[in-house]
């Protein structure tokens, strides 16, 4: 009986890994309700087991809601997760440790533009007019390139544009992927 239970749990963990790692929508990751549908009511427990396996590989599961980003806790954090409705949160797998810079195929100039934009926005409490960002970046890069890179980062979710207010702010992807405190500490220390 215990063996059956174990086999069932293993199957579910494998299924959870597939759901989380393979892109199914335009945005990576899956919603809590999709996990519930595929794995059952106890999906948070399955995600916690998967997370403990991923941690050994330097990866971890993160949950993003409208207002915050959280890391899936281990067994001790289980009660906290159960008490909160996670159905509308998006679950994603990220690298826990920072990457070596050569691990990315991005051009150094493109990363510098993103890095400077994020630092600029963070210093302005997360929001600034698009024009002020463009003017700031145009000091070091050609304006045409700045505009095309900003468009790309908006599409990728690192930045978010409010077309009515003509402002830029931090996007969902920055909230998930970028440790903003570390970024600012490193910039200040440079």
């Amino acid at each position: 009986m215990a063996q059956e239970e174990r086999a069932r749990a293993e199957r579910k963990v494998k299924k959870a890994a597939q759901l989380l790692l393979f892109r199914r929508h335009h945005k990576p990751g899956v919603k809590g309700w999709e996990l519930k549908k595929a794995l059952g009511e106890d999906y948070m427990e399955i995600i916690e087991i998967l997370n403990s396996i991923l941690l050994k590989l330097g990866l971890e599961v993160r949950m993003i809601s409208e207002s915050e980003v959280e890391v899936v806790a281990g067994a001790s954090g289980g009660d906290k997760h159960k008490s909160k409705d996670r159905d509308n949160d998006r679950f994603m797998v990220v690298f826990k440790e920072h990457l070596i810079d050569k691990a990315s195929g991005l051009r150094i100039d493109d990363v510098a533009i993103l890095s400077a934009t994020l630092a600029y926005l963070i210093a302005k409490q997360g929001k600034a007019t698009r024009k002020s960002v463009e003017d700031f970046l145009a000091d070091k890069f050609p304006r045409r390139r700045v505009i095309s890179m900003l468009e790309r980062y908006i599409l990728q979710g690192y930045l978010k544009e409010d077309e009515e207010e003509k402002t830029l702010c931090i996007g969902w992807r920055t909230r998930v992927e970028v440790d903003r405190k570390t970024l600012m500490d490193l910039i200040l220390a440079a």
């Binding site: 509308n88 994603m92 400077a116 963070i122 210093a123 970028v178 600012m184």
Partner: protein, 278 residues
Amino acid sequence: MRDRRGVDKKRVEDLLRLISFCKTIQSAETDPFDLDVRHYLAILREYLKRWRSIEDLLLDGEAVSELAKVIERQCKWIKDRSTSFYLDPALIELKLKLMEPAQLASAFFKAWHPVVSLDMLTPERLKEGLEYWNALLPLNERKRGLVESPLSEAGGGTIGFEDLIALRIFSETEFREQLQALQAELEARGRTEYHDFVYVDDFGDSIRRAYLTSYLVSEGSAGLDIEPLEEKIYLYPLPAGAPTQRMPVRMPKSVPIAISYEDWHKWRKKREQEQSGR
């Protein structure tokens, strides 16, 4: 009498100036404490006794609402500065200007934890691709269809209502009737996920419904709610009345929504699964 009218005009101007000031503070990144809220509240309290018309009171209400938004901004401002995360924007700007692109990139990489996601072809997806291939007409037949179409004479582009009439897909009466039927259906169903509303068993019918729905939205009979995190679009009926009464005055916005055979196929499969599950 003339004096009183002049005083009233001045008060209205004061209020309009205050509203404009509040809006500037909200849109630009100026210090929200530039506005002395206590002083303006005292002015509003004094003016309140003198307002006579409903327009004056509405203006007063708008001014209070804008002041409340400034107070909210002041609250956020204090919160931001009281956290350890607060950094002087001028200092950061200077630092960023002095740094080399390589240094900036290096800082980003040390703070970056990219999302892991993979794209992979599954046998199921290959099967869907094959089905699509089998249903697809040869290119020359599709091209012939385009050449014969009156649209090609107009140089292609978007399909308008007149084009559909020219193509004999719709007559004007039929179009209005179908539009009304769809509106009645939306009113009966209430707020619905867009694709659940537009997609039906037949793909051709789904396209027709999507086209008609775009008219409902453009004419102000239906509204769209976009939930970016949920990746869902909701459609809801708007009450009858003049279009200007139904819709808030906002910048016109166009929302492209993709309708594809693949997406429709997925939706139908999901629905079949749900029905067999029941």
